[in-house]
Symmetry: C2
Subunit: 385 residues, 2 copies
């Protein structure tokens, strides 16, 4: 185990009816900007629940935050937040809305020239509006972490930023709000959670017993609950609750303490989204099996542990590693997620553009471990055609 | 899963050398009271490390906090803290020192008549001095939670209190500080952690997949690391690190979210300590097997899951539950902890006193689940003679 600092002050309000409690945690004197996405919250009742809970408070709205939230859109919110002297941001939506709202929080208080520098150059976040979240889509973990991923349309870039100042003050996780989600979004959320865990667990780190067990526990939970969530005709509260909590625990920093992290599957996937607009979860399902095969010698110990503990595969079998990779891909397929580039009409041209982009950025390793790098990213993607 | 709120703002500084960083997290202008126990920190170098880290700050000391910290002792510290206008408390020790320091923090700011009411009557904690911890003994989890257990010698009472105001601002977990611990204390810490997890996991709660997996992961880690920690002639850093992190995760609130909790083993154990001064860990190792046998029908589902997932016992065997209980007791024995009342010279007289005490308190259930109660506590204790 490596040395680490761990800090996560997000208050989680979990369960049916918890939206009604949010006003207890927002200072009464502050003007609140409620942010959301494409408007599904107006159809499924979440908007009304939130507005009821905020009755009597000074609330303005900013809707229209896209999946893979656009810098261009978020900067409009920043302008309004500054002009209207907004004191508190309440994100009501999935990871994109929450990530975007974190950026609004930081950019509103940014005193440099161009807030894009926060993501592009890692310009320090010295202040941020307080924010909170009402989660509607379990997937990204953004509701309990301090990171966000922002897309700039004009340059086709999708990049991450982190700051302790953008931890949500609280996040509401009501499993019932997931009832109206399309199965496609649920599938993406399951895949996203699975791959978040893999980026932190499937490494060369040893002697991280608790972190490994917790990671495996989240994966095992997804294997049990994921197919039930996908198959239910009437949503089952407990299944949704277990999935929702799994997604949050998959990326709140806890399983990553004292370990290596990779994130190469995400970084490669981000490029597929940037170039083709593919769903984030889909890109991860495509890329992960390729990354696992390319790294299976270097990360053999953890891969065999994964095979054994998560899949129950006899790790002494000569093809245990390959079986674990194949079953992971089959799991994604079983959720209705296709896992080949060709399934989405993506071909060699994109592979070459992505390889070039990583080369141009000048780093050898793509994620945190150098067994996925500018020299094998092409081969990884070709294996996924 | 039941509805829950989760909040844990403790910053964890984990790893070798982390004590040197503490001054970064203590306001420079505040007078610091450093609290500690019997003085082992002066022999093992921890005192010097802390004092080096605090160089240039205004520090006073309060030593002599006992195992099972005494109200009477802590009130002396309260008097000094008030007189000296102490602004920050730094607990350097194990769970007793940290628990005691939490009480000092709350009692110093208490404006009622008698601070003992905080534990005896649950009098509300409206203010508390900020506090932090340098942990020297992995066991109680106090370094990352908001509870404390205090003993009043004059009345032979040992009682718990909780307040969000007594979360440590930060806690330092340096596995190296455990190197000088006697094996007996390490064994107690392993048992304590094991039983903490059981109190939150071994219940009738269903549909708590993540919580169950995390609990089982901590237990599995203890089964692997515990015997190595007990057997090592030279301390192994990684084993100590994994044990230390397991102990913290075992009682920081995370595995308990949305679940029932019991704590009957602790409450019964506290009486054994109150009457006979037995080590806390020892009392838990004595009581738990009895509690498990008394509840094995009511909690059958979880007990068989424990048998299967933690011990690898075939849960379809007719004696799977009994095997799991027997192996749990053998595990404690393997750490050098004897698990019978008779091993400590405790007999029927104490059993009767304890039964009477629970009856006098007027609650039927002893912990959070009423299958351990005033009517079967005698039988449970008799089975442990």
């Amino acid at each position: 185990m490596e040395n680490f600092n761990y800090y996560n002050p997000v208050k989680v309000l979990f369960g049916e009816g918890k939206i009604a409690e949010i006003a207890n945690y927002i200072p009464k004197t502050m003007k609140v900007m409620m942010t959301y996405g494409g408007g599904s919250i107006k159809k499924n009742g979440v908007y009304d629940q939130v507005m009821d809970a905020l009755k009597g408070m000074n609330v303005i709205e900013f809707g229209g935050i896209e999946p893979n939230p656009h810098y261009e859109t978020l900067m409009k919110a920043v302008e309004i937040a500054r002009r209207e002297n907004v004191g508190f941001l309440l994100a009501v939506g999935g990871g994109s809305v929450i990530d975007g709202t974190k950026f609004i929080a930081a950019a509103t208080c940014y005193d440099g020239e161009e807030p894009w520098d926060i993501v592009l150059k890692g310009a320090p976040v010295k202040g941020a509006l307080p924010l909170a979240a009402v989660l509607t889509l379990p997937a990204t973990g953004s509701e309990m972490n301090n990171g966000g991923v922002i897309t700039r349309v004009s340059t086709q870039e999708k990049l991450a930023f982190h700051s302790p100042l953008v931890f949500p003050k609280f996040s509401v996780l009501d499993p019932k709000v997931t009832y109206s989600l399309p199965k496609r979004q649920l599938a993406n959320g399951i895949v996203d959670t699975f791959v978040h865990v893999m980026e932190q667990y499937y490494t060369t780190s040893e002697n991280v017993e608790i972190q490994d067990r917790f990671s495996e526990g989240i994966l095992q939970t997804l294997l049990v609950v994921g197919p039930r969530v996908m198959a239910d005709e009437q949503p089952n509260y407990q299944d949704r609750a277990n999935f929702m909590w799994a997604a949050t625990m998959g990326l709140n920093g806890l399983i990553a303490v004292g370990t290596e992290q990779d994130w190469s599957t995400h970084y490669i996937g981000h490029e597929l989204t940037a170039f083709h607009g593919l769903d984030h979860g889909v890109t991860l399902a495509i890329v992960l099996p390729g990354v696992m095969r390319a790294t299976k010698e270097n990360r053999k110990r953890k891969l065999l542990q994964f095979a054994s503990r998560v899949w129950g595969i006899d790790a002494t079998l000569p093809d245990a590693a390959e079986q674990a990779i194949a079953r992971t891909e089959q799991f994604f397929n079983s959720l209705g997620v296709k896992t080949r580039l060709g399934d989405y009409g993506v071909g060699m041209e994109t592979v070459e553009r992505i390889e070039k982009r990583f080369r141009d950025r000048g780093n050898y390793a793509i994620g945190g471990i150098d067994d996925v790098n500018v020299d094998n990213v092409r081969e990884i993607l070709v294996s996924r055609l």
